[in-house]
Symmetry: C2
Subunit: 403 residues, 2 copies
């Protein structure tokens, strides 16, 4: 006899559409007669341990729809990574509440958390089904064509560079924009999607999939600046040298690491400032500006891909269907089935958990500083409808009357 | 006998709507029978000196409409500030081309440039009419209710802080967002327009109109963090101590100044990083993040106020009407005539040139760290239609079953 109680949680960095997945779970679950209650854990797995639940069954469907369109994580998120003791504490709470389905929305760290909880449940003989629902702006989950949250962040980055390029053309100089992405360069590469004319920036793109050499970087910038009189550069926060040490680690004095052992790369303008200093000092270029896109790229209100919204909603809905109609735990994965169409599969948790996808070689040019048409073809449909476009004067020159 | 030739130029920092003003001038001028040619100077006054003109009469009106909707400066901009020799060089070019109307779109520096050119023309006995068309995201032109470009940048800042607030609520800590604005805090104050619920951030707002004391700042942050478990802070890049020295100047080693003698405050993450370090070190708060909004706030493609677009177009149109039907040089000023409605006047160039408006006292609370309802009432209609809204779960708590 099932209790009919399900629990949903959100983990990791917020995105523009993670609440779509949450609402997808809640509204779809409420359509099943056997579901009696839908609980939400506040601040992810920490809310489970702390028995800090909201009864989402009491939310109006109208308000849930409005929350779905709101960025960030409506339940709150966490960076906690459960160990064995943490998981046992979770079980005691889940058992007390007779919760039998656990939906965890997050990236590969959250998938790993979901896998550990699932393992612990099985070992403890507790009848818990665990479904991981994909979410990450980094697009670094294996087995997925792409991940919910990435398309909207990619759209922000493309629109930001389209604007930065126009700004840089109006007041020429060198512009460095630092984009999120610890190991995967997908989001940085998205900067190329704002390009229209051959002389548009970003002229150079640096992703963590390629080794970063300062000398070569400066030579690249010099060449572009000599050619166009300006240079727009997209740089991933995760760029590193041949030894694997990140460029920002080389200069940051006080490193902050989270519970997963990850170095804190966001929330500081250090990398952009370092690179700008190098360009100013070594290349003697006067007007050099750096921006670190920071949290804007994942939580700006009002820049979202409608394709991303729709898919994020669907992975939540499908998670409930897989859990209630199926007989196994797993991770929902997005598969591309047309240009453009997507469908969803349930893959084993250990196929996704803790693994990191990086950019495929076919997406990066031989130079290592640009993306290929294959990448443009891959990303464009994900950005959704209504992408703003930039136009320029055709510019008939007036003949000079004076020497 | 008039030559019927007019010239338009864009100066200073690009905005989301400066091309609306450009296109307003061009399309309106082409309606006047006496106008034979509309030239555009590339990169502002520098394009005049260099005799670097485009014949905008040859642009299609369709493409001009598309350019109008594109951010940044389609003609290119400049930071040059003409002196006497520079102005004489300009005259020689203007005289050679028989240009009789000069429209200069820009901020108070550009207004000053326009004034000098106008003075020089009169002293030289050259029949030149000079019209300054307002533009600045800083909203710091005197005699204007507000300036074109500010509403769209304010909308970006409001949307950015609405998202940063949601992100910070999901993963609590301290967030510092640094906003452009050398002397005027209008744009930083716009961060308050993204607030909806009483506990929403930004919880603290620091504008250059009030003296910044580090000790008081830290006490403010501590109090908010203790109350809400988190703190979102909006800081103007122009904040300074009692002696007038900017906080960023206190720590920046290599200062870059432009031709106007202004210190370079943008294009570096130094201020955000400094403030974050202080909060981390002095208040022992672990999760502290800083973003510098940088160039995104003035040139992001896809975040614009329709009210701003409309008015930027109209100041361009009115400039042509004032010049062709009137008999004097001047600066076009926006006046508020209803809630909400605007109209335009031509004011003397020296009433605007080189002067800086700062936030009125009635817009800042007694605490000095928040805006008043008067400011909200002032700004809200300028942000335009379709502002995104943030929603939250109503959050019925589930009773704990365990101690």
């Amino acid at each position: 006899m099932s209790s009919g109680k399900i629990l949903v949680a959100q983990g990791g960095g917020p995105t523009a559409v993670i609440n779509q997945s949450l609402v997808g779970v809640v509204l779809e679950a409420r359509r099943f007669r056997e579901v009696t209650r839908v609980y939400g854990a506040r601040h992810g797995v920490r809310g489970v341990v702390n028995e800090d639940f909201l009864d989402l069954t009491q939310e109006t469907s109208h308000n849930l729809e409005l929350v779905a369109g709101t960025p960030a994580a409506a339940l709150g998120s966490t960076r906690d990574k459960p160990d064995l003791a943490y998981c046992r504490a979770m079980f005691e709470v889940l058992r007390a509440h007779q919760i039998e389905h656990f939906f965890n929305i997050g990236g590969n760290d959250s998938a790993d958390t979901t896998r550990i909880v699932d393992d612990e449940a099985r070992q403890a003989g507790y009848p818990l089904r665990c479904i991981h629902i994909p979410k990450t702006i980094d697009n670094d989950l294996v087995g997925n064509d792409h991940t919910p949250g990435f398309p909207s962040a990619a759209r922000f980055v493309a629109q930001a560079f389209a604007g930065a390029n126009l700004d840089n053309a109006a007041l020429p100089g060198v512009y460095v924009g630092v984009v999120m992405g610890r190991h995967a360069g997908f989001l940085t590469a998205a900067s190329a999607l704002g390009k229209k004319f051959p002389d548009d920036g970003p002229h150079l793109i640096y992703v963590p999939e390629r080794i970063f050499e300062l000398g070569r970087f400066l030579a690249d910038v010099k060449a572009v600046h000599e050619r166009h009189g300006r240079c727009v550069i997209a740089v991933s926060e995760g760029i590193h040298d041949a030894s694997g040490q990140s460029v920002v680690e080389q200069l940051a004095k006080d490193l902050e690491r989270d519970a997963h052992g990850n170095v804190q790369l966001s929330g500081t303008g250090a990398l952009a400032d370092l690179l700008c200093d190098q360009i100013r000092d070594k290349l003697k270029i006067k007007r050099v500006r750096g921006d670190t896109f920071g949290y804007l790229q994942r939580s700006f209100v009002g820049c979202v891909s409608d394709v991303d919204q729709r898919e994020a909603r669907e992975v939540g809905e499908k998670a409930v269907q897989f859990a209630l109609w199926g007989d196994r735990s797993g991770s929902v994965a997005i598969k591309r089935t047309g240009f453009y169409s997507a469908d969803y599969e349930l893959v084993p948790l250990d196929a996704v958990a803790g693994k990191t996808r990086t950019m495929e070689d076919e997406f990066i040019t031989a130079s290592g500083t640009d993306v290929t048409d294959a990448f443009r073809l891959y990303l464009r449909p994900l950005l959704g409808s209504g992408m703003p476009d930039a136009y320029r004067l055709r510019g008939a020159r007036v003949a000079k009357l004076r020497g």
